[in-house]
Amino acid sequence: MLVYALKRLAYSVPMLFGVSSLAFLLLNMLPSDIAQLKAGEDATPETIAAIRESMGLNRPLHERYVEWLGGLLRGDLGVSWHNGQTVIDGILASAPVTLSIVVLSLLLAVIIGVPVGVIAAVRGGRLDRALVSSTVVALAIPNFWLALMLVLAFSLAIPLLPATGYIPLEADPALWLRHLVLPVIAVASVSISAIARQTRSAMVENLSRDYVRTLRAAGMSETSVIYKHTLKNSAVPVLTVLGIQFVNLSGGSIIVEQVFAVPGLGQYTMTALARNDVPVVLGVLVITAVAVVVINLLVDLTNSAVNPKVRA
């Protein structure tokens, strides 16, 4: 298991290197000019040129790349071109917010999605069709539209929940949760559906297998058949989808973060992109790439723990 994990990590190094280098190249090729943005609309061309010079932007690209890569390998992601905050600090401040949304959404996805998928697979018939149709609808609904509708209904029309904002967990756990209810529902709807559908199809496939018939014939209780055996065997594809969903949600929560004015990673990145803050965007890209690698590794390790046949 350890060897497997180490091998996977080793493979990911060239991939991460490639991703970050490509990102560096593309971002520095963007037409917008940070010096102009910093100088403001009334500045003279001379001021803009001087700002470019002072930021070291006139140096050749490869020189700047080597410097950036060196910093990266030392764990230094650089400093925002706009407000001087270190990228690490910015990410550390905003990541917990997005993680709160993503983790809670995935929890909801499992708590609701798995039972829905099981029920649909086990009961079949009209209930199955109804549940499957619901998942299709939920998948089709754009999460930002859902977010806006939720705010309209539960913050404005009926003042039940906050329309915007985020309270850190350590400041007030109850308020933290309260502020996250609407964003999480908006974000989780797609994941719930994806997990439900994946669970259902894996369960349906497994329930038709011979071993299930054998277990039933042997007199095992239906509960055991479903939850102890079939579900466990259905876990692999579901866990894989869960891993994919984690990555999707981390990016997909961007617009929801805008709607709820939540200071997460999505908003941090969007603001940086809008004002051509290359170090921030690069830093977020690199951290995200690393996170994706780690998540995928964890999913694969969990899969191989659940189902020994997966271990290659």
Binding site: E41, D42, P45, A93, S155, T164
Partner: protein, 520 residues
């Protein structure tokens, strides 16, 4: 086989019951409605929250971009040497008084016993240090103190600025960021962009501040006029998305915030109070007045024709949801002498007259020219283009790529759509109708008549100055150096139960911290 349903059903019921209880608990706890979230109003202290579209990038006044979004922070931390009252008239701020000794000498008298929050004295030496720092700082977005030649400390409470040329714009700059004096120690430390130290009405609470999201300011008890500030805490929250801003206002999460034409109707129908004020002069700036690329633009009759061709009111109604005032004048209301209301309707909507002027000027079949526009100004520009097309003039729009600003490639374009916040009438002629080339006058065309009048105006005072500035206004309108649509309003929505007396500085889009903001 479907057996043992009962345990499963009981389990499901228990789960549903738990979920309902959790939901009830969540919505019930934390104070009921969402109005009390966000930590404001704790322990009886009065707190006011204001929403802005973006955060300041630096707390260094010389680098902070002008506009309410950054100015709110600068004003809170540093105050200003000169302030404005509710009518927009300049009044003493951190400076007890000021005087124009002559057109090139400005003297400030400071208040005694004022200190910065780090204990340094707010005296003439501190002001000199600041002004010398500000006027020699590198790569600043503005060169507002370029006329200041020398700063002289007469005595601990008196400082004199000696100018190398008359500059009546100066007092307005001292209402703005140039009047925001930081502690001399913080200037020396070189970190006032991130760790500001001032003597203003509020102090930044770094522990309750999340960059780009929430900035908390606590009242400075030692501020010279502390009693006038009725809120102990100001919380500035950033809402990049206009929808999120509106939702936060409508649900009571924030007390004051910005609005725009698209949510104006909703705001009107709600309990929110609305403060609207003309902010930007919108229109198409014509740069190629010398007719190098577009000979037609060199003709005054042609330029006037372009102004007769557009229905300003209709454009404001459709593009800006009626939130504006049609105007043929480049000077903006509240900017000072030169704003002459009688010139607002100089050009009415008269396409027939436009066509006949074009024919007289030798363009009976019209002509075509290019104008560049930022995406945000595109709707206005397209509306203008539509009207011009109807009289035979084709204005081809080039939309700037994202990341370009108004000063990208100065001089490349013959015309540009512009929304100009001209806060200072003395800056308006220098920005628009006098050389050298700049982002607002990209070919550097200089009108000789305006130059002569301006050189007189800056050396004059009182009524004489006002008359000269109004003459400049009249010339600019008659020469039609731009296709003016009018002023678009800034909209500030606020909760009338939490705050009263909102005031907005000319060309700003948010409340002025140093005036108004009282409890209702």
């Amino acid at each position: 086989m479907k057996s043992s349903k009962n345990p499963r059903r009981a389990g499901r019921l228990a789960a549903i019951a738990a979920a309902v209880a959790l939901a009830a608990g969540l919505t019930g706890c934390g104070g009921g409605t969402s109005a009390s979230t966000g930590g404001d109003g704790s322990d009886g202290a009065a707190s006011l929250s204001i929403g802005y579209a973006f955060a300041p990038e630096t707390f260094d006044p010389v680098y902070a971009i002008a506009g309410a979004q950054a100015s709110a922070h600068i004003q809170a931390i540093y105050g200003a040497l000169i302030e404005r009252d509710a009518d927009g008239v300049e009044r003493p701020g951190m400076a007890e008084s000021w005087e124009w000794v002559d057109a090139q000498t400005l003297t400030f008298t400071l208040r005694p016993d004022v200190t910065f929050t780090d204990g340094e004295k707010y005296d003439a030496e501190a002001v000199k240090k600041w002004i010398d720092y500000a006027r020699t700082a590198e790569n600043t977005p503005y060169q507002n103190l370029s006329a200041v030649e020398n700063v002289v400390v007469e005595n601990p409470l008196t400082v004199t600025l000696e100018l190398n040329r008359p500059d009546p714009r100066l007092t307005k700059f001292f209402v703005g960021h140039m009047g925001a004096v930081p502690s001399p120690a913080s200037i020396d430390a070189g970190n006032l962009g991130i760790e500001p130290v001032g003597a203003g009405p509020y102090i930044l609470d770094a522990d309750k501040t999340v960059i780009d999201n929430t900035y908390t300011y606590e009242k400075n008890p030692d501020y010279w006029d502390a009693d006038r500030f009725e809120f102990d805490t100001l919380v500035f929250k950033i809402y990049a998305d206009a929808n999120a801003m509106y939702n936060a206002l409508a649900s009571g999460q924030v007390d004051v915030g910005y609005g725009n034409g698209s949510n104006y109707a909703a705001a009107e129908a709600s309990d929110l109070e609305i403060f609207s004020q003309p902010q930007n002069a919108n229109g198409i700036s014509l740069y190629d007045i010398d007719g190098v690329n577009v000979p037609a633009l060199a003709s005054k009759e042609v330029r006037q024709a372009l102004n007769y061709a557009i229905d300003k009111q209709k454009i404001i109604d459709t593009v800006f949801q009626g939130q504006g005032t049609p105007s043929s004048l480049g000077f903006t209301p509240g900017s000072g002498p030169g704003y002459d209301e009688s010139l607002l309707d100089y050009y009415d909507y008269d396409p027939a007259k436009a066509k006949s002027l074009l024919a007289d000027a030798g363009y009976p079949d019209g002509f075509s020219f290019e104008a560049v526009t930022l995406t945000k100004d595109q709707p206005m520009a397209e509306a203008v283009a539509g009207y011009l097309e109807a009289v035979g003039v084709t204005m081809k729009l080039i939309v700037r790529a994202p990341g370009e600003t108004a000063n990208t490639n100065i001089g490349k374009y013959d015309a540009a759509a512009a929304a100009m916040g001209l806060a200072d009438s003395f800056a308006t002629p220098t920005n628009l109708w006098l050389g050298p080339a700049s982002a607002t006058n990209q070919r550097g065309h200089e009108d000789p008549e305006i130059r002569a009048l301006y050189d007189q105006a800056i050396n004059a005072v009182g009524d004489e100055q006002k008359e000269l500035m109004e003459e400049i206004a009249a010339v600019s309108v008659e020469q039609a150096y731009g296709i003016q649509v009018g002023y678009v309003n800034s909209l500030t929505y606020y909760n009338g139960d939490k705050v009263a007396n909102i005031m907005v500085l000319p060309a700003h889009g948010g409340p002025y911290i140093l005036e108004g903001l009282t409890k209702p």
